[in-house]
Symmetry: C2
Subunit: 460 residues, 2 copies
Amino acid sequence: MVNVSVGGAAFDVIVVGGGPGGAAAAGVLARGGKKVALVEEAGLGGTCLNHGCIPTKFFLAATAPLGALRDHQRHGIVSGELKVDFAALQKRKNRFVQGASAALGKALQVAGVTLIQGRGVCKGAGLVQCEGGTQATLRAADVILATGSRAAAFPGLEPDGAAVLDSTMLLSLERVPESLIIVGAGAIGMEFSDFFSALGVKVTLVEGMPQLVPAEDADIAEELRKIVQKSGRVCLTGQKVASVLTRGGQAELTLADGRVLTAEKALIAVGRKANTQALEHAGCALDKRGFVVTNAFLEAAPHCHAIGDVNGLALLAHAAEHQGEWAARRILGLEKGEYSSGPVPSCIFGHVEIMRVGRTAKELLASGSRPGVAVSPMSLNPIAQAHGSSTGFVKAVRQGDVLVGMAAIGHNVSHLVTAAQLLVLHGHTPETLRRFMFAHPTLDESLKNVLTAPETIAVL
Amino acid sequence: MVNVSVGGAAFDVIVVGGGPGGAAAAGVLARGGKKVALVEEAGLGGTCLNHGCIPTKFFLAATAPLGALRDHQRHGIVSGELKVDFAALQKRKNRFVQGASAALGKALQVAGVTLIQGRGVCKGAGLVQCEGGTQATLRAADVILATGSRAAAFPGLEPDGAAVLDSTMLLSLERVPESLIIVGAGAIGMEFSDFFSALGVKVTLVEGMPQLVPAEDADIAEELRKIVQKSGRVCLTGQKVASVLTRGGQAELTLADGRVLTAEKALIAVGRKANTQALEHAGCALDKRGFVVTNAFLEAAPHCHAIGDVNGLALLAHAAEHQGEWAARRILGLEKGEYSSGPVPSCIFGHVEIMRVGRTAKELLASGSRPGVAVSPMSLNPIAQAHGSSTGFVKAVRQGDVLVGMAAIGHNVSHLVTAAQLLVLHGHTPETLRRFMFAHPTLDESLKNVLTAPETIAVL
């Protein structure tokens, strides 16, 4: 990032934070003719590019051939041995991240955005003080807060950088550990468990909730548990953790019931908290979880939008980007109504994946409605069979006649997410499905199968 | 298939041919209350299940880990050696095909379809003679012709079952040949070239047209040529073949210019021709290519629909299925208007894949219109980068403002086909794309990239 002399400069918009949300907003605004400053303390691209979605995908892509080999080995079709050079993987991952971050900066500059390296601290309406890097006071008519989130840590579970790590530290390991305890079986914990388990690491998952992937429906979580246990990972669900600390160079975890687990490393992945340290004088309120409260227009205060993780609406890079573009268009006068996300997609990647779009049966049941669900096993799909990996299923969730959600668990099901998103968006039914052909033979046909499968009423 | 005594029986509908089209039609009709006979000479599921789409996908899935290893090896990230047990692969492929064919028969019987093993020969309106297997004369108010197609052979290029093979024979090999000449670089030729090349077979592709994959746009074919040549396959395009024959146990190919190529085996994959041998008295006409002529209602004659490959509209399993279901619904009185296929998707599978939906720029240029095209390279996609395979691109084709086609070439792009299909079906624009989020990071985002990329006017 280039340092720019901007003492006391006046902008149309100051964007605080250069992750997927902030960068998208800044780009749209600059291309729309606004004078925009983007203040970012660390790497452009935010958590997603530097310490999240992208580096973990490089990890998981490297172990993909190992998983494929295992599936074919089980049927006696492919044999051999594969080795991952972890140092080479780290190098390539780092090179990609640095290159992509630099390319993003270049693209923003070409669009006319003033990039300012430093920590943006809100000092009042339209007033942002840059600290740390560039020292400057910025003024603007509008501010967009896009400060993101960071790994949460509970008392007794603080990463110490020795044997107890957060996800950013784990992504920077120089050597593959022999054993790993993962506290928290959400998306982050599951993806790391998939990667390290594929490398032969002895992985133990510890989750406080009664199921793995607590955001997903129970049937998905149960299918995942079976697959994960079969792969040799130990799953401890419904287990409260009293403490995790480094003792004698090893990670030592004590469960609430007194049992003690040890491993070479432990990952703490118990959720995320909003980065609101610099927002004290931004004029916005925080909810009880510590996220910035926004109205239906993504405003946290007059002329102050809050987008992405910091508002807690959906802790997903693509949600941040969507909100960022929308807020930018609103400032440009191109959006008049309330913000609407449409169905929100999410994926957990790995050899066995989970995808979800829109509403879950769980969510709807909790809100008192009685959704209809249909399920179709991946084993009916010839492509899944050909790859020797046909566990899992696809699920459709309806409210009355309306398709409101889809989900799937299985090998490669992240590839179903956009088709599912479009099917939900357009409210397709068995009747409207007749208007088009699903290409054969594809994994995508599993979506057709579930949309024409018999439906039952969901129960908890 | 169960033999049923049906001498002189009267049905509501006789379906001649039990491939994807005929089976789909029979199922819909029987579930709709019709008395249906389905006459099939060979395996239920037709070419697709028994000798086409499905067995080739088992082949390609087995070499998928080898391709993934190669891509990661190039970056020094994964090392090792993999071996495919061809005999085990053949066994598993055959077991799956037999099981799926039996399951299809069972499902049709449960639906109430009378399955008749034999060759259905049309003897007049509503009159079908079964020969070969069950001897019977069947009468019905309606007939659906779904007799499919078979590999075409030109004079001098006839498969002899020794060293010169058609695709069905190649699928039944007991041993991997050392070298293979493939005549015809369409979908079938390209998929086999991908599989055998991955196994280390010396492959030579010979294509009469000036480009590989003649149905695709020239830029896609050119990208494919680069990738195929890099993989060590020899590509001879624009080369007429004078003859292919077995000499001294080897395949010997003579080009029109007199050059001679030899290999252990040769595959003849120069197209398909309609199975119309038993349709002489069906009352239908054939076009100059030998396909059954149908009207806008898929009728070949009064009370006689012709669906699938035999009508030559689209030689694709999913097109046959779509037509079969539609014709069945029409006979049930549930479809009143003309048949409309919607955008037709197609894929060529392998390590590097091609997908296409709707119209190509080539087609539109040939019909005198001036389509707008946009192209976005796969190298912009982080998932493609993470897998070490980022050659290729995605392409959008528009007529005026309307998205009428999408295509892509690259690793895993068959997974884009249904999302592309839905984007074309709903005529999405950069404006309507704002209504929803593409999940990040996914290969699917390459579709978003091309839909928001700058457009140029296509030229030949």
